[in-house]
């Protein structure tokens, strides 16, 4: 009886696919198994990577595809190889704008500005050039303003499986929260 080493094969193809990742369908096709079987192999591997401390990688599902990535707890070692981050962090303005778009999409610039209370052209430009948002259509009415929505890169950038995985938007602001709120103006630099 010949046993096929599915896990070894899956590791090979995921390694080769790199950060392009593979969808469940692609994995099933390459392994020539059905998707249920493929999902079973994936889950098993995810579990093994996680529990084995001699492994430095994980099998994660981000933005709809499966891919290998290093374990977070090894980041400090990886940082030693780094000169400077390849991409800068998003500014507070960009993050706020992105949050509004993520939860309210599709949404126009004017609507975003009404919520933020300030002009928002620049953050929109930054977000578009970083492929985190895109124009998804035009609003009805006189101006036919552009409507914005989030992209697949948005999911990738924040490590989300899909848009449904967004953390819920706080519905009610509690009084204590007002006090405890992390004051961005005084937020620590440590996160750099």
């Amino acid at each position: 009886m010949e046993i096929v080493n599915w896990k070894g094969i899956l590791e090979s193809v995921l390694f080769a696919a790199g950060d392009e990742g593979l969808s469940l369908k692609q994995i099933a096709t390459v392994l020539e198994v059905d998707e249920i079987k493929a999902q079973g192999i994936i889950s098993e591997m995810q579990h093994e990577y996680e529990k084995d401390e001699n492994r430095g990688i994980l099998l994660v599902q981000i933005a709809g595809v499966f891919q290998l990535a290093t374990k977070k707890e090894h980041a400090e070692y990886l940082k030693r190889l780094v000169e400077s981050p390849g991409t800068s962090h998003l500014s507070q303005a960009a993050l706020e704008t992105l949050a509004i778009i993520a939860y309210k999409q599709p949404i126009t610039r004017i609507e975003i500005e009404e919520i933020r209370g300030v002009k928002t052209e620049r953050p929109l430009q930054t977000l578009a050039s970083r492929a985190l948002i895109k124009e998804v259509g035009r609003a009805e009415g006189a101006g036919r303003a552009y409507l914005y929505g989030t992209t697949k890169e948005f999911l990738d950038y924040f490590g989300l499986k899909n848009i449904a995985e967004l953390p819920p938007l706080p519905e009610k602001i509690e009084d204590e929260e007002v006090q405890a709120e992390a004051d961005l103006f005084f937020e620590k630099f440590n996160e750099l």
Binding site: D19, K72, L81, K119, R130, Y157, F158, V178, F185, N190
Partner: protein, 256 residues
């Protein structure tokens, strides 16, 4: 790693709503019951301080100042509660603050969501990936992907983003430049010293160093000292010079 002192992020407020939330937070005010007179005063001091520093103030800040003043004057109008014939209409009359509170709460939701996003961004940044391997050895030279190109400029930019994220690791070992952080507590102590020796100071005199970080820290230090009532800030009339004086008996800095 955790310093208990404030470390200042060199970023301004994101707009008048952000500034108001900041003031509400620092003054420990109930957002659902804002003392309009107090918050308006604080807001105007802030605006005047910016003016004093000859800084451009975005028009949105001035619009908000006008809005606050309008609400304040509405709040001052007599309520007519005793006049029975009109009582019913005032029962369900709107609080002049309602619209502003609604906007603040709506904005605050997204501001909090942005904090959440920031932590996701950081978390994701801890994971490193690798580029797709070159698989040309597994294909015949003649075979070229035949399907139609079906991508947009966004796909191209997204690919570039992935690349740049990855590139982080491929640079040689080198030292990183870290920004110098100025603890706000230290600057507060300096200001107190300065005021103790010289009495009343012009606001601008507190900004001897033309460095952004230093300016922001000084500004925040003054605000914090005002809140702790260790200094008094006065302005004789609108757009006149602002003076800062030390409050008597407040010699100690650093304890809250």
């Amino acid at each position: 790693m955790e310093h208990n002192e404030y470390n200042v992020k060199i970023e301004a407020f994101e707009g008048p709503l952000d500034l108001l939330l900041h003031l509400i937070n620092r003054l420990e005010i109930d957002i659902y019951d804002i003392p309009v007179a107090e918050i308006t005063e604080q807001y105007l001091i802030f605006i005047h301080a910016m003016k004093e520093l000859k800084l451009d103030i975005a028009s949105e800040y001035l619009v908000m100042a006008a809005t606050l003043l309008a609400i304040k004057s509405k709040m001052l109008l007599p309520k007519h509660e005793d006049e029975s014939e009109e009582a019913f209409s005032y029962e369900d009359e709107e609080d002049p603050r309602d619209e502003l509170v609604e906007r603040l709460i709506e904005y605050k939701k997204f501001k909090e969501a942005a904090i959440e996003f920031k932590s996701l961004e950081k978390d994701r940044g801890l994971m490193y990936t690798k580029p797709p391997s070159d698989l040309s050895e597994f294909t015949k030279d003649t075979q070229i992907e035949k399907s139609d190109v079906d991508v947009s400029i966004y796909d191209m930019l997204a690919a570039l983003q992935k690349l740049m994220r990855r590139k982080k690791l491929q640079k040689p070992l080198a030292t990183r430049i870290t920004r110098q952080e100025i603890p706000i507590e230290k600057r507060m102590a300096e200001i107190i010293d300065q005021l103790a020796s010289g009495g009343r100071k012009r606001f601008q005199e507190l900004f001897p160093v033309h460095d952004r970080g230093h300016i922001v820290v000084t500004f925040l230090a003054v605000l914090e000292l005002m809140k702790r009532q260790e200094v008094h800030v006065e302005q004789e009339q609108n757009f006149a010079e602002i003076f800062v004086t030390s409050q008597k008996g407040a010699g100690k800095v650093g304890n809250r």
